[in-house]
Symmetry: C2
Subunit: 350 residues, 2 copies
DNA sequence: CTGTTAGCGCCTTCAG
DNA sequence: CTGAAGGCGCTAACAG
């Protein structure tokens, strides 16, 4: 355990040295540099102080402030898999909202639960972070409980948790329904669903959208039409293989994630099933790569920037002591169907 | 500008309250809880203090420590595009190395330069971070200069910068050479290169590997055999289209990034060119998605975990006041060819 | 208009 | 074996 005390080589300017050079008290310097409007400082000294501070490249030490205010003005975004394509927009949205409220955003990789807990401990329990945005996947009650037990605040992204903590969700149901409706519109009737992990709230909501669309069109959902697998490529591959092994093969598939759709496409290629001639499909969530697959993949673009933005602004409210609703839905802009080449009419259409 | 002073609702335990309950001085509590071995505390009081601390869930406040030591024990990893597939292993490696030295790692999204500078300002200049790992792309001299001018330290990942700052690079040249050698081994002679942005050091090194392999085999590199484009899918698409428009179309292509290879595959599909029957290709860098493309993509797996790990341990050395070499190569484990279906014999072979 | 004072939570001499 | 005192850099009363 390295416990050695280390010192930065270059010393940064402090209020003290500026005060000394300007021949005033540190408090005066503080007032000037913060533009404290409750007290007036003479133009002359103000100018002198500002010049010296600028010359020294003075920036206030965040740690001193944090100590004083019990508040660091930084929040963390905990992601289960930092390189997932869908997270980029969430990050951008969160960062924008953070900046609007003078917070800094840092991202924490929680790809392994043990690591997540370790980083979490250092960052939240030791007071480096005022609050945490927790993306679905790594959320556990013990984690969230620990966060709030340490006077930090948290907001859950895209996952509902027993109503004890604030969570923000996208309208998975509407998005999935939109895609299935398109499949129905072009003539499909035997439509299957690659639904994601059975025990996740996200997958459950997407499945609801699928079922809603099927029900509205009075289409049957066979017992083997819904397959639960992981959200990644391997999951899509496995799930598609199961669907293709069925007696009455579906003519179209609604896939609950982009990565799984890539796997599903591969599974089709592997057995010579053509997309969209033999089977149509679309993926939930959009990303640039969809354009470049073979065939290019029709997708549902969700308001992820807004999701990240909303979650962050709620967290900021929480940090301001305001209360926020337990569940917030981000419904605007609406989910959008991005039509590419993976959806066509069913093979038996004529 | 929100400047209101906010207070956490729950107050965290401090040395003071533990001391009070234990009927001792705060300094004694501090000694016990830090396991200070330079001074002995009686078993009885030690036990009492530890019990109370545990009961209160005491964790030392990082901000108070930071203020005292001018050191936060956290380092940042600045990524140009946080969701790039190659970054995941780098992040994991960096995190592992950070933990080994009792540092915490946070990731910063630098996808937009303006944002990067803003986050950077808040995090580095205000002293929230002891040092910064800067991944290629966003590196500018003004940024790095500003970092060290503020008594933070930085290490550049996979990009050399005029010898003024420490940088760590993977062996791009060896990796690219390995792939091209495989193309040559199966019989290709007209081999092109989609080389990435012309002005980046990374692309330049990969191109060197391509040229080295060609030279070793005494194969000519035509003037139109090397195309510079961006590293993303669109870049690969554009570049491949240029190559296919050439008079003597190459029979194989070395692609300097995975995303560009996906774009290149798409460009081939678009004009009915089959991979690998008509054109073979491989991509620099490996990721799970390569397995699920059509055809599955042969790739070069690079030691990215080790890259992140090495860069971080160098940064820690720097923070300890040690000096480190300006340029460090991560050459172990060696680049590895992951053979899949996108490489085959040239069409004119028999 | 400006200085004095006190303290955020922690650690480290130096005395007992 | 333990306590007292001082200070990291900053800000917010309260005095002048």
């Amino acid at each position: 355990v390295a416990k050695e005390r280390k010192q930065g080589v270059t010393q940064r300017a402090t209020l003290g040295v500026i005060a000394e050079r300007a021949g005033v008290d540190r408090s005066t310097v503080s007032r000037v540099l913060r533009n404290d409007d409750r007290t007036r400082v003479s133009i002359a000294t103000r100018q002198r102080i500002e010049d010296i501070a600028a010359g020294l490249g003075y920036v206030a030490n965040a740690n001193a402030r944090s100590l004083l205010f019990s508040q660091t003005m930084t929040i963390g975004l905990l992601l289960p898999n930092i390189t997932g394509v869908v997270y980029h927009d969430i990050i951008r949205g969160a960062e924008a909202a953070a900046r609007e409220s003078d917070y800094v955003l840092v991202v924490i990789d929680g790809s392994e639960l043990g690591k997540a807990n370790e980083s979490f401990r250092r960052l939240v329990l030791e007071g480096r972070l005022d609050g945490l945005l927790i993306a679905s996947g790594v959320v556990t009650d013990s984690l969230t409980d620990a966060v709030v037990a340490n006077s930090a605040r948290c907001v859950i992204l895209n996952r509902r948790i027993g109503g004890r903590y604030a969570s923000v969700i996208e309208d998975d149901e509407a998005g999935m329904q939109l895609g299935v409706e398109e499949l129905i519109r072009v003539g499909h009737r035997r439509i299957a669903c690659l639904a994601g992990p059975k025990d996740t709230d996200t997958a459950r909501r997407r499945l609801l959208g699928y079922r809603a669309a099927m029900k509205n069109a009075a289409l049957p959902v066979g017992r083997s039409a819904v397959v639960h697998t992981s959200f990644d490529e391997a999951g899509g591959w496995d799930g598609m293989q199961q669907l293709l092994a069925n007696g009455d093969r579906p003519t179209a598939v609604a896939v609950a994630s982009l990565a799984a759709a890539i796997g599903a496409l591969a599974a089709c290629h592997a057995v010579g099933i053509r997309v969209p001639q033999d089977v149509s499909m679309f993926a939930f969530h959009d990303a640039p790569v969809a354009e470049f697959l073979h065939p290019s993949l029709s997708t549902i673009a969700m308001p992820l920037f807004e999701l990240g933005h909303k979650a962050t602004s709620l967290l900021v409210s929480l940090l301001n002591g305001d209360s926020v609703p337990t569940l917030t839905r981000v419904t605007s802009p609406r989910p959008r169907l991005v039509s590419r080449d993976s959806i066509g009419p069913p093979p038996d259409a004529n």
